[in-house]
């Protein structure tokens, strides 16, 4: 039995979403497949693109900045791969509900499946890019050790953080259509104040500004263990704090606006 007047529609929605695991994985996979439908290499193009980009930028910049390519190129590769994952997700987030309008307006499915599905799709893309980093890092003589495994729980933490950000931006973007253009404008700016191209310690003066960018914390928490050192404690702290504050805010908003979303898309 379904009663429509509930006090916390947002929470009910999220609980129902947990039961829709099969739908979420199916849509994510079929979207990836549909996108590369008529190409021979399919998602491998992503891998090749990343490999080409980081090789080119890496060797030219290491010469320009006169830094040692054996540490700089892997740093840059990891930074670029993580940035592609983060920015790809955030840019798509603002239109996530309106792109699924034909499902939202016709089927009685929980709404939280859409941000989850988007996150999963970008995680699949990330999995296609990740081997490039390991090939570059090992090829240039960097060694992996036990600490490297810390990157996995760190990635999980980042993914959970990105999930609320995606959800939150998706909700706002469904209501305010300007958000899409605003985000496309802001993301390249944020890229320059995040440690994509360098380690934070390379910056003599602006390091503090960079830590105001939440994405810097996402990149560092995953990248530090990849280079054999556990992430700084304050980075872990910010990630956990963002997780708690962000999810509370998102759940509050979702609960408040849940009944309106079908009219917005």
């Amino acid at each position: 039995m379904t009663l429509s007047s509930q006090k916390y529609p947002g929470f009910t929605d999220i609980i129902q979403t947990c039961h829709c695991f099969r739908i979420i994985t199916f849509i994510a996979l079929s979207d990836v497949r549909a996108r590369y439908k008529r190409s021979v290499l399919g998602p491998l193009w992503l891998t090749l693109g990343t490999a080409g980009g980081s090789a080119g930028l890496g060797f030219i910049w290491s010469e320009l900045f006169r830094v040692d390519p054996t540490t700089f190129v892997p740093t840059l590769t990891a930074g670029l791969i993580l940035w592609q994952f983060i920015s790809g997700l955030i840019i798509e987030a603002s239109t996530l509900f309106s792109r699924q309008a034909s499902i939202i307006r016709n089927l009685n499915l929980p709404l939280a499946i859409h941000p989850t599905q988007l996150l999963l799709r970008h995680l699949i893309n990330l999995a296609h890019n990740a081997p490039v980093f390991f090939i570059v890092a090992l090829g240039l003589g960097n060694s992996l050790n036990l600490v490297t495994w810390l990157a996995l729980p760190a990635l999980l933490l980042v993914a959970l953080n990105l999930l609320w950000i995606t959800f939150f931006i998706g909700l706002l973007g469904a209501r305010f259509r300007d958000l899409e253009y605003f985000i496309t404008m802001v993301m390249p700016l944020l890229m320059f104040i995040s440690p994509v191209f360098y380690r934070p310690s390379y910056l003599p003066f602006s390091e503090r500004i960079m830590w105001f960018n939440p994405f810097s914390h996402f990149i560092e928490i995953v990248r530090s263990p990849l280079f054999g050192s556990p992430p700084p404690l304050f980075v872990v702290g910010t990630n956990l704090a963002m997780l708690i504050i962000g999810w509370s805010l998102t759940l509050w908003l979702f609960n408040r606006q849940h009944h309106r979303i079908a009219f917005w898309v």
Binding site: F26, S30, N108
Partner: protein, 243 residues
């Protein structure tokens, strides 16, 4: 056992990019029947359904009539649980399937077969269920080799066949169909009629919105007229007027 019960249900539509209560809006209100009220700021609320109450049980086949904008599609979406009311309660028991909008839930790039799987999964079927129903869907749609082509190459009648076949093959307890259904040809209408009759007989509630009185009188045993967001059930002489 299927039940669909509305008790004093009110549905309001927020509209964001039209402003102010102007003369134009007053005219709109007279000609479309939606009542336009304004919330603080620029947000306008259109009351699409106002204190609607009814109860549907197994075997009810309801035809919805009313002119454009009377609230037929809104009522169907509210029945489906897509739109949520601002007031009143809805009790819904049973699995719902919808044929509301052409191409809903389909990916135009994917083939007919792939879309059968996609829609089946979205409607909550398992892969085994879908596999066992594919043959039945093939037969019903009679699309033959077209099922191997991307859905974007289909005519609207073909897409309707596919959607209707998948939606009904999920063995829903409640089937909600909007006007799109009218795009099928005569042969399809005949097959659809058979299929709906068995569906109505076996279990379930069927709700069908249309401007075609002939179709309504063929399929339905109850008729609701929507006017100004309110629902009136036609009985006795009024029903004869329809047929």
């Amino acid at each position: 056992m299927a039940v669909l019960k509305f008790d004093n249900v009110t549905v309001q539509y927020p509209v964001y990019n039209s402003r102010g209560m102007s003369l134009r809006n007053q005219l709109v209100r007279i000609s479309t029947g939606g009542r336009i009220e304004s919330e603080a700021g620029h947000v306008q609320l259109v009351t699409a359904l106002k204190e609607v109450s009814f109860e549907l049980r197994d075997g009810d086949a309801v035809g919805l009539i009313g002119h454009n904008g009377a609230g037929k599609s809104t009522l169907l979406r509210t029945m489906a649980g897509v739109y949520h009311p601002v007031g009143g309660t809805i009790v819904r028991q049973g699995r719902v399937a919808t044929v509301l909008e052409l191409g809903a839930g389909m990916d135009p790039e994917l083939s007919g077969y792939e879309n059968i799987i996609r829609m089946g999964i979205l409607m909550g079927l398992s892969m085994n269920d879908i596999r066992s129903k594919t043959k039945d869907i093939e037969e019903f749609t009679q699309l033959g080799d077209f099922l191997q082509l991307p859905v974007r190459t289909y005519s609207s009648g073909m897409a309707t066949r596919l959607m209707f076949a998948v939606a009904t093959s999920t063995e829903p307890d409640i089937l909600l169909v909007d006007e799109v259904f009218g795009t099928g040809d005569a042969e399809f209408q005949l097959k659809a009629k058979e299929r709906m009759e068995t569906l109505i007989k076996s279990v379930g509630i069927f709700v069908f919105a249309s401007h075609n009185n002939e179709l309504i009188s063929q399929y339905c045993n109850r008729v609701f007229r929507l006017k100004h967001g309110q629902v009136l059930e036609l009985i006795g002489e009024d029903l004869e007027f329809i047929s």
